[in-house]
Symmetry: D2
Subunit: 358 residues, 4 copies
């Protein structure tokens, strides 16, 4: 029998999955379908996001990643960015439901909750949200809110290599960071140190500056120098990392910084794009969370005295607490002007280009 | 057993509805899931659009519509506008699939086709797309492409009152258009005629104008006068209607024009908003169709010599041919400056306001 | 001389306003034009937002607001919502500038800063951001960062009636809240009290419930009752207000709640839409601020030890601290199911409808 | 004197460029500012688009393009895509102006018109819209509508190399298309011919097929074969080109096809992305034009009998007629399944990768 659109998409089954509770309780609430459809489209897109993440993990999870596959991985990540755009924008639709309309069926949904979305938890895990980083909700681990049959898949996603992990390992393997001909890190430190020395001399030489203003500028300068010093010394970097203020390994951090600075070299273009995509994914996830927070607030308001324990407060704190690629945002702290960039030796430059240039 | 998120949304069933053909044929194509998920989210949103249209038809389908219910109907229509925004924007996601990736499974889908979407056909029918207006595809009526079990619902949607129909009837019942104290149409015609006379005198009086320029302005003026004349005379209006150039009944047309012109009067505000929402829905549907056309073109290109018979060409022609509320766009032709607007008698003005003003 | 497009839009002047500093310093940075154009389009839109706010303030600032003008004010507010959509979305464009490209001209811009946007400060003032609510930046009032010639206009915007103020006064004048025939507040309290009594009885009657679970439910119940109690008593409400946890006057709060609950009555439809538009404007402003925060973070990273004094941290805290219509979000806390809504007497119901119904 | 935000952005000058005609005529129309601001933001973005196009033309206009610069050009094109997103979306704002509000000042703008936007004409020219392809408006060349002082720049943009031109030349120089070790075009034709032979055999072998169905399938097959035949023969291709049905040179066409088919090879990834960006730019331009058409229609309606000469009709026809990169959409016609793709010899494959693989 030939394939039809409806059979291919299993529309009969798909369109039978909407069962409003309000109808079962004899008081159909018009907007409950909207509530269901919105969440179901979220879950369909979540499935797609997981599919893309799995593809990236497969491409980048090995001991070596072919250049070809960096481009492929990038393509999957850029698709995730586009999907996130839809996830964010479609909150506009759900917000056409008014708080009073929500009240028509809200109580019937108890105790179900979006915290039970196993796919969303798997996305967090596959991105690389660390267990230690997760806020606890109602003093319980996140698995507590999952349906029992969902736990194995979510747990497996947590134990398997994550996007953060494979990217970190891939970065750490970047070949060009240090070689006999060019030690990026040493050259970078030299140039930064010279830049800082000049900055300080400039400030100290400002004869016309009021003493208080000069002091302020020197304090600001001291913070800048301190910021660089904290990464020049691997021991200090590791201390920051142990304190949870950095997450990337030192090697991965250095490589990521080099990619940011030399991103126009052909072989570094895709890695740069990939890092940018990760930053955007992280940003979009935070934006989605924050829109979610505001929507919940306008839907249900806030009770007196619920303090830190409520779902709404938990959501609000995850906006910043559950970020995965924060280290990549912080890389910008360490950029230096192109004019101060150590010059790549020609031999290395050729290595970063295509063979056919020869 | 208590309700969980997953049970409520029937996630097990929902997430089992994605069955890529490529996997069945032993050559899984990564992007087929995207193709399925995109279309399934479309169908879920279509279901919601139908739910909103049904609500509007129920509210406005009777012999009289309470003012309260105009506001409710408007709310449903504005939700449809928001949903359309998502439908249009999410084409961005599908376009991350490249033509070559599509080719990996495209042939496996034959002969299924989006033309078989019964829900989409029902939306067109409920909006009020007339059978006579529908383009024929492959020399067949649109039902020919539907799965047999889908035909009854689509046919019922066609035979039942449509949004176009109930709005037209509701407009035609607008009470204030003509009354002993104020005959909108007569006053409007008087003012328009005066305006046109002045326009002509102005042109004829432009002594410094070159004859050719004056002739051009007079031709333009003649077209304007002709445009108004075509609606001043109900017989001429009906002739345009018979020729398919107008669709709204004369009474509905007059009422819609009055609503556009006096939209700030309290009782006309919601009707004005409702007409605006219909215009936007029509516009969004055309935009969605056109984005769809461009996407198909970039996905599959074009064959030599397929002429007018191809699906792509059919799609392209529906962009304009399948518009439902074109008459409301054309209303703007007949607007006149506020300064020329017939003044409402105070008694009528009070009727258009709220009781509490008394 | 006849008007041309270019003359009308003053394009020669407009397109001469882009003067990159990098070019002046002899090292043109390609992306500086993007930085300028983005900010200039922001300022143009800000001018439009101010124009719309002024229109609303003029329409609603008087001792009485005609129903007609509520609809007009709403139209202006809904336009602001659309403009905010563009303001948020166009951050996507600025984010195509990479941190390294920004570095090419960033230092040349010192000490100019977005905090100096007088129009943005005026928008905040006209919306009704209270001086007491404003976070201080670098231990200084916000005027400190403005150019001197900009201060008078911004200060005038602060001293003049704000949107918050005129809406609050307009709400407080709502006529139907208490009348001999119907005292909304008394009826509401009666019904809420009955609802709460039943809730408690239900919890206490759950024989099968474990004691700990029952205790948790009772605590939750106590919080709910406390939440209602805090507004039942005007003295307690005023205490919350004095503590900065509420901002709307008691009368305005009651009226807003009544509008939310009876929004389908014809005369309350526009007020309801207006409150919804205010909520959306507040939400969009927060979203824009948060996107801004994330963009700044990815552009410039973060320094060690800057603590709470940095611009980035200030921006981040304004996301929540500078919200203006938070009370309207919190209204949802006090909604009750439609089934518990006090029934409006027929005489009142008629007053809430249109005269012509008679 | 230190740089302030306002001085940097020349806000005093910028915000003095809005001079509503209605105010000059003594009857200020509130919405005229919106009309001006919207068009001014368009012009600012147009300036940015021209800046990006110039950068691409500079990077790709030479006799050879370094791989590094392909990545840079791509970055500029992707920014244009983002800007187009804003240009399309902000029509939402202008559409909050109602036709009646527009009428308050519409006549004052005569005879100025958007057709006079010199920057927009320059964008069309720099993209590569050919003069022969341009629709004529009012039987005149497009320069006729420009202000005299604007003509030189627009004309220069037309005479200088366009994006279409430099991309075509760059494609034609692609080195890997034919070499002693691998002749892409010959291998491709061989595989396509085999595929077509098998297709025909399959159809002819369908014993159970009704004769009419078989005939239909054979006709469809003939069209497919004809489509391929039209490009296999360079003379036929040139004939299509002379007839205006193709625009790319034969060499550029072959190279673009090869890039589409082997896009995963490292050296072809950026070229593939670049072609995709061009397709998206073309698509977005058409979408913007079509949204523009619909907006104009809802703003001013349509006159009887203006036939093909009106501005609205002209706009509508440009949506399809003024497309620049249509050939790239049509490439999809010639894609073949990955399984039929000629295998690249290892030596060539290495050439397409990075040197460091060695």
């Amino acid at each position: 029998m030939s394939l039809s659109y409806g059979k291919y998409l299993k529309l009969r089954e798909l369109l039978a999955c909407q069962e409003p509770e309000s109808a079962k309780h004899g008081a159909p609430a018009h907007d409950e379908l909207l509530f269901i459809v919105t969440h179901q489209t979220y879950e369909l897109w979540f499935k797609q996001v997981l599919h893309e993440l799995d593809a990236v993990l497969a491409l980048m999870g090995g001991a070596a990643v072919a250049e070809k596959d960096v481009g492929r991985a990038l393509h999957h990540l850029e698709r995730i960015v586009k999907i996130q755009g839809v996830l964010i924008d479609q909150i506009d639709v759900l917000e056409t439901m008014t708080p009073l309309d929500f009240l028509d069926f809200r109580n019937l949904l108890t105790p179900s909750s979006g915290f039970q979305s196993a796919q969303f938890r798997s996305i967090e895990n596959k991105l690389g949200l660390a267990r230690t980083q997760r806020l606890r909700y109602n003093e319980a681990d996140y698995e507590a809110s999952l349906d029992a049959p969902d736990r194995p898949a979510v747990g497996a996603a947590e134990r398997a290599p994550s996007l953060f992990g494979v990217v970190e390992a891939w970065l750490a393997r970047t070949p060009f960071v240090a070689s006999p001909q060019f030690d990026f890190w040493q050259e970078y430190r030299t140039n930064v140190t010279r830049m800082l020395d000049e900055d300080r001399a400039t400030i100290e030489g400002k004869a016309q500056l009021a003493p208080a203003a000069q002091r302020a500028q020197l304090e600001e300068f001291a913070r800048t120098r301190e910021t660089f010093a904290s990464v020049f010394d691997s021991a200090r970097y590791e201390a920051l990392r142990a304190a949870g203020q950095r997450r990337l390994s030192y090697e991965a951090f250095l490589a990521a910084l080099m990619i940011m600075l030399y991103r126009d070299e052909p072989i570094l273009q895709n890695p740069f794009r990939l890092l940018t995509a990760l930053v955007t994914i992280d940003e979009n996830l935070s934006l989605w969370r924050y829109r979610h927070v505001l929507m919940v607030q306008r839907m249900i308001g806030a009770k007196i005295g619920t303090g830190g324990s409520s779902g709404q407060d938990y959501l609000r704190r995850t906006v910043e607490a559950h970020r995965v690629f924060l280290d990549l945002f912080n890389l910008s702290t360490y950029l230096i002007p192109r004019s101060l960039l150590p010059r790549l030796p020609n031999a290395l430059r050729e290595q970063l280009g295509f063979r056919r240039d020869a």
